[in-house]
């Protein structure tokens, strides 16, 4: 009798334990409802961006909060590493938890806009006049502007003033001068010039100023003009004026090599200036050298824009549009441009900006003629960018002649 009783108690305990093990699973499945407000007063806006490193993080926090105060909302901001942003956006899109304000790198805007995940700014009466064409082009999809940004960046040629002075060389303006200067500046462990030809979009981005300035176009990579530009890079590496390591250097690596004194010149962007300021290197910058004297340098336009995702909450979306407009107003443009060494997107501010930050003159000039990467190809850009960096790698490793490299890459 006693034994039966004990075993039934045991069984009851076991069944309770099994139930307890299942319950939490059921509960978690019910969690995570939506938190959309139903019209009425908008009190908060959620913001997602990738300015996750200092000093940019704090700087943007201040700017975002100021605009929050101006439009009368509190800001709930989330930052994440740049490489994870798109994955995060897709994930949140499928779970209907997109932020009210979303920052995107400009070449990604069309990809996300075509999904219907963003709302056109014209819907809220946002005024987009006065902005540089390139940035509007990048942020547009099928004739509608989806994002605005206060600042843009581009590429230029940085040089080590001391090394050039020592060799008695003027900063190069043309490809010929670049080759000659790089050869002359190469000695011992030091290379004349460095750039990034890495197998990522960074490599493609760095090649664009050379390709575009020479009159080549991303719609036809097999043109002789594209091959000539590639030939320049191949010559620089084959002659030893640039290291073979460019194949594996990101732009940050190129900057590190420049700071370490291993490079006399480098192709890089103004976002590296804060790091250069911290180093002992005396540097200056000019526009990317052009194919022949008098040619107009055409560089790619970089930078992020702020968009209003389609969250379904119209009151919040309208508020978010107001907020996006505020981020890109004149005052913010000047403040952010000055603090982060980027160029204002309103062309009428550029002169004032250069007066305030003279070291940015070359980049500011470059921005006037800069082109967006997605302006022509739109959502086909990623595929072409892959062909560009693959072609560069094929040519620099000697697996293909510059004339055939892009064609070979395109077959991939």
């Amino acid at each position: 009798m006693k034994k039966t009783h004990a075993s039934s108690t045991r069984r009851r305990l076991l069944s309770a334990a099994a139930t307890a093990a299942v319950v939490p699973l059921a509960l978690t499945a019910c969690g995570g409802g939506s938190t959309a407000s139903d019209g009425g007063e908008v009190e908060t806006l959620t913001v997602l961006d990738y300015y996750n490193n200092e000093p940019e993080k704090t700087l943007w926090q201040d700017a975002l909060e100021a605009c929050g105060t101006e439009v009368g909302v509190t800001i709930e901001r989330e930052t994440m590493p740049g490489a994870d942003l798109i994955q995060k956006v897709l994930q949140r899109a499928s779970s209907n938890t997109l932020p009210d304000v979303l920052m995107l790198d400009n070449p990604d805007v069309q990809e996300i806009a075509q999904t219907g995940g963003l709302t056109p700014l014209s819907q809220y009466g946002v005024d987009t006049s006065g902005f540089a064409d390139g940035i509007l082009e990048a942020a547009s999809y099928e004739g509608e502007v989806y994002g605005l940004g206060p600042v843009v960046n581009t590429l230029g040629l940085f040089y080590n003033v001391e090394m050039l002075d020592e060799a008695g060389i003027e900063p190069p303006k043309t490809w010929e001068e670049l080759k000659a200067a790089a050869a002359q500046l190469t000695e011992g462990d030091r290379y004349g010039v460095g750039f990034s030809a890495v197998a990522t979009y960074e490599g493609a981005w760095q090649f664009l100023p050379f390709m575009w300035t020479n009159g080549a176009d991303e719609t036809d990579l097999t043109s002789p003009e594209a091959a000539e530009a590639l030939k320049l890079w191949v010559d620089l590496v084959e002659s030893g004026s640039a290291s073979e390591s460019v194949l594996n250097w990101s732009q940050a690596d190129v900057k590190d090599q420049f700071v370490a004194g291993n490079l006399a010149m480098m192709v890089n962007g103004p976002w590296q200036i804060p790091a250069l300021e911290e180093s002992d290197v005396e540097y200056a910058s000019v526009q990317v050298p052009v194919n022949e004297e008098g040619a107009t340098p055409v560089a790619p336009l970089g930078g992020e824009v702020w968009t209003v995702p389609n969250t379904g909450d119209e009151a919040k979306q309208a508020k978010a549009a107001e907020f996006v407009e505020c981020i890109s107003n004149d005052e913010n443009q000047m403040a952010i441009a000055t603090a982060t060494y980027k160029v204002p997107t309103r062309t009428d501010l550029i002169d004032d900006y250069v007066a305030e930050v003279p070291s940015m003159e070359a980049f500011a000039e470059q921005v006037r003629n800069a082109r967006s990467r997605t302006g022509q190809l739109g959502t086909d850009w990623p595929e072409t960018a892959t062909d560009i960096y693959t072609g560069i790698q094929l040519a620099l490793t000697g697996q293909a002649e510059p004339e055939e490299a892009f064609e070979q890459a395109g077959q991939g």
Binding site: S245, A260, T390, G412
Partner: protein
């Protein structure tokens, strides 16, 4: 699963008794079954959610035009075998398959040989042997992205420690990561370094199980050193070795972080593997369907080795 099944059958009373039993007892038995079932439920839910769902989803995605748009609209049109055709007709498919094979077998051979040698070495007790064995685990504890960034600077062409060391002994610098002829080798070397702790740990565990008497008896018959290794150590380790090798193959097939960190699949696609193709199709080109097709190919290859693993670890039935 089969163990649980057996257990349930074993405990349950014979089914034939059901009809003749008093109703009260039958009821209690049913409750018994429910309780038993409840114990399986958590494991079953876990397996279905975290193993079943992703695999099924991945197979389904392979037949869909799954793009960034799908995440917003939920629409992914069926495209039949188009993704597989795209994946396999790409010029990179065969080289990537070949690289996957070379990478996997190269890594496993290196990891296993060095792992076994170190395991045998540490099997002898000597001062600090435990401490040194613990140090060996270090590569395992380091996040792979940190490890690959460190190796990238070690293998740098001009300033890397490795080439400086080669230079110091009068050898030429080797373009580890920038020459298509060396890049795959460099990536394999780093992956060997990553895999050694796993091999040492499991093989060392296997060595501990071998009875000391066998060595003593063999020593009396004059079998020591290599002879003892061939005739005692290896035969006794057979089971452990097959587990290490098969798991190693499955782990190595899917490596992407080390390759992405070191070369990004370059230079000139020299280190493209099927896993890298899958990653890049999905997260660089945003063609998730094609990415799924690549990874299904990988799953299929893994499955073959997983079956081998199941066969080798299955206890002989009576």
């Amino acid at each position: 699963m089969s163990v649980i099944q057996e257990h349930i059958n074993g405990v349950s009373p014979p089914a034939a008794a059901g009809g003749t039993e008093p109703p009260a007892r039958r009821k209690r038995l049913r409750r018994d079954d429910v309780v038993k079932f409840m114990f399986i439920v958590p494991a079953a839910i876990y397996v279905v959610l975290f193993f079943g769902y992703p695999v099924v989803k991945n197979i389904v995605m392979g037949f869909q035009d799954y793009t960034t748009q799908t995440f917003f609209t939920g629409e992914a049109p069926w495209v039949g075998l188009t993704n597989y055709v795209t994946a396999m007709s790409s010029q990179l498919f065969v080289p990537a398959l070949w690289n996957t094979a070379v990478f996997t077998f190269g890594s496993i051979a290196g990891q296993f040989a060095i792992g076994l040698a170190l395991a045998v070495f540490f099997h002898r007790k000597f001062p600090l042997s435990n401490f040194l064995r613990a140090i060996l685990l270090l590569p395992w504890l380091l996040p792979l992205i940190v490890a690959s960034a460190t190796w990238r600077s070690i293998m740098d062409l001009d300033g890397g420690v490795l080439n400086r060391a080669l230079g110091a002994v009068g050898l030429d610098a080797i373009p580890w990561l920038t020459n298509p002829d060396y890049a795959l080798l460099a990536v394999i070397l780093v992956n060997i370094w990553v895999g050694i702790p796993f091999n040492v740990t499991i093989l060392y565990g296997g060595l501990q199980e071998i009875p000391e008497e066998q060595y003593e008896a063999a020593a009396l018959d004059g079998a020591t050193g290599w002879k003892a290794f061939w005739h005692i150590t290896l035969p006794n380790l057979k089971g452990v070795i097959s587990v290490v090798l098969v798991l190693g193959v499955v782990y190595t097939l899917k490596v992407i972080d080390i390759i992405l960190g070191l070369t990004n699949g370059g230079p000139a696609n020299a280190t493209q593997t099927i896993a890298i193709r899958s990653y890049q199709s999905s997260f660089v080109d945003f063609e998730f369907g094609v990415g799924a097709a690549f990874s299904n190919v990988l799953i299929l290859i893994s499955l073959v080795f997983a079956l081998v693993y199941l066969r080798t670890t299955r206890r002989p039935a009576n």
